[in-house]
């Protein structure tokens, strides 16, 4: 995951890109661990036969798993989770076993010590062959507000 340099109020400017953080590749075991820890036991994320019956080629991640990675990335960019004041994501495509999760962000506005950033997590990988997916696609997009220490 590598070290992320913490952004402070002195060092910030609007339009600033937040360093890319890559998680994964996510595997079925990660879906199971998330199911056990979150209580999301929807079989579509764990049971191949069930997933196929619903028309999916295989199991896929619960959206909140990459959302958790993205919240992790935002926390690290700004020196810890305690500075988060708002975190919002929209789910745009599914994340498949073997995908890497590439998190990026960009500073939009700075109002006093409240920083608003747009955030994005892309899936990167081949995906199930039958879907012929692009190698990289936006899986989640959203924004976050961070209250930086004065």
């Amino acid at each position: 995951m590598g070290e992320v340099e913490t952004i402070t109020l002195e060092g910030i400017s609007s339009g600033m890109e937040l360093g890319e953080v890559v998680y994964g590749p996510v595997q079925r075991d990660d879906f199971k661990a998330y199911a056990d820890a979150s209580g999301d036991d929807n079989p579509i994320h764990q049971d191949e036969d069930y997933a196929r019956k619903t028309g999916a080629p295989t199991v896929f991640a619960m959206g909140m798993l990459p959302a958790g990675y993205l919240a992790h990335a935002v926390s690290d960019w700004f020196g810890g989770p305690q500075h988060l004041r708002r975190f919002k994501v929209r789910f745009t495509t599914r994340v498949w076993p073997g995908d890497e999760i590439v998190c990026t962000g960009k500073v939009q506005t700075i109002d006093g010590n409240i920083v608003t950033v747009t955030i994005e997590a892309r899936r990167r990988g081949d995906g199930p062959p039958e879907l012929e997916l692009d190698h990289e696609q936006v899986a989640l997009m959203g924004e976050a507000d961070i209250e930086l220490p004065l």
Partner: protein, 148 residues
Amino acid sequence: MAGKELTFDLPVRLEHVQDFARAVGEDNPVFFDIEAAEQQGFPSVVAPPTFTTTQIFQVPRAEREQQLGANLDYGRVLHGEQEFVYKRLPIAGETLKGRMRIAKDFTKEGKRGGAMRFVTYESIFTDEAGDEVLSAYYTLIETAKDVG
């Protein structure tokens, strides 16, 4: 639907917080180690920002439907959006009180024809002193029937 509300407890157990933090690939010791959390000024281990998502499974779907009555057809429901607004993060050892209601329910035309319905569940969490901790907004999308 105005006024309908569902209340529940969300215990923030230490082992649960640690398991959840591991599951989302966290490596910051404030999510795992009491001493490390205390050194950073927290009363105990901190729950990751998306931890309260577990609440949606704390209240079974059937109970949510029965009490709040969105009448969703779960065969064509997707988790569309999720938002959290924080005063602070939950701390291991406390029990949060949650109040859930339907904050938004609207339908709009999909790009490929057919109406999509958006239902947002708002959960406001307060601590044992009655102070607000955070709010969570869980938005489900009911896709159109038989989009051709």
